[in-house]
Subunit: 198 residues, 2 copies
């Protein structure tokens, strides 16, 4: 089977529409998605940035929110601009890694994105994450507890290191089997076409 | 007639494919293009940047060149990475403004982009600009001389001010009659669809 690595950051606005449509569109191309949550913070920190470029550049930030609204409208996705941006996606990323099953990880990830950008919730709030796990009928307490394990913490650090190593500088990003990198929700179709041809 | 404002910077890599296809695609939507050259330098300078973000962020820069190569391949456009990046597009921008006729301005602009990103030339070189004007059978010496006029210099400064005023932070950008802003070559189709519906 052809596969594609889907690198996403829970705080990333454009990762939201990508996460909501990638499973369906990949299936149309007979491509399997490997969901790989990571953190952009450490990568931005290396550039000397203390926050999202959408906050550092106000004109770009204003544009991004309007653009995201248009994209959600086009894709018939709910959109509510959260009060806090960027949000702390550390807990969500660790929980996503703790869920090893890819179908469940994808489902959890979509729910987190919808809670944040569809409903304006704060994903740093543990009760929000717990409610999602509860709704999914997953072992909530066990999973939340595992996010304190050194193994899960190390796994997330390794994800960030690997993202940087393959040249990732933003999210969402897509990497094909032959190491072709595509960046941005607007490159998802190109990435899937590329992956399907290899 | 529906119109769209096409804001481009001669040093901007993604402005190249946009410039090469906008006339044909706008015609398909019965939309008229207003070619508006401007400079990104002063806008970047306001953010404290001394050069292109593609140089400030090496990983993003490496990605951009590969992405541009793929786009040119897809659009059947010649591509040669110029040795100098970003190039000084001041002369080209002033010449483009000095050419008031929109069809000729579009033709000149496409030739400048092709010389730079199709053939790897340096558009800061006056002889390159003169050769283009000569090939177009335009009054080369007269146009080059006019780029020293205070009126042309002021016109370019005004373009930059207006770009910033309408929220432009990058190139290419597209603005519709109802002031909807679209940024990037990958938003050209969306921008034309929006313009055509208004």
């Amino acid at each position: 089977m052809k596969t594609i690595e889907f690198w996403y950051e829970f705080a990333s606005t454009y990762s939201y529409p990508a996460a909501m449509r990638i499973s369906r569109e990949a299936a149309n191309h007979d491509v399997v998605v490997n969901w790989r949550p990571f953190l952009l913070g450490p990568i931005f920190h290396e550039l000397g940035w203390s926050t999202s470029p959408f906050n550092l550049q106000p004109a770009k930030g204003r544009y991004m929110w309007r653009d995201l609204e248009r994209i959600c409208d086009h894709n018939k996705l709910p959109f509510t601009r959260p009060e806090v941006f960027p949000q702390n996606g550390l807990l969500a990323a660790r929980v996503a890694l703790a869920i090893e099953d890819q179908t469940q990880r994808a489902d959890f990830s979509r729910r987190v994105f919808r809670a944040q950008f569809g409903e304006g919730g704060d994903i740093a709030d543990r009760t929000l994450i717990e409610a999602i796990l509860h709704d999914m009928e997953l072992p909530t307490h066990e999973i939340i507890a595992s996010t304190g394990d050194p193994a899960i913490k190390a796994q997330l650090r390794d994800q960030v290191s690997e993202a940087a190593r393959v040249g990732i500088f933003g999210a969402p990003s897509f990497v094909t089997n032959d190491n072709e990198l595509f960046w941005g929700n607007d490159r998802l179709d190109d990435a899937l076409l590329w992956a399907a041809k290899r």
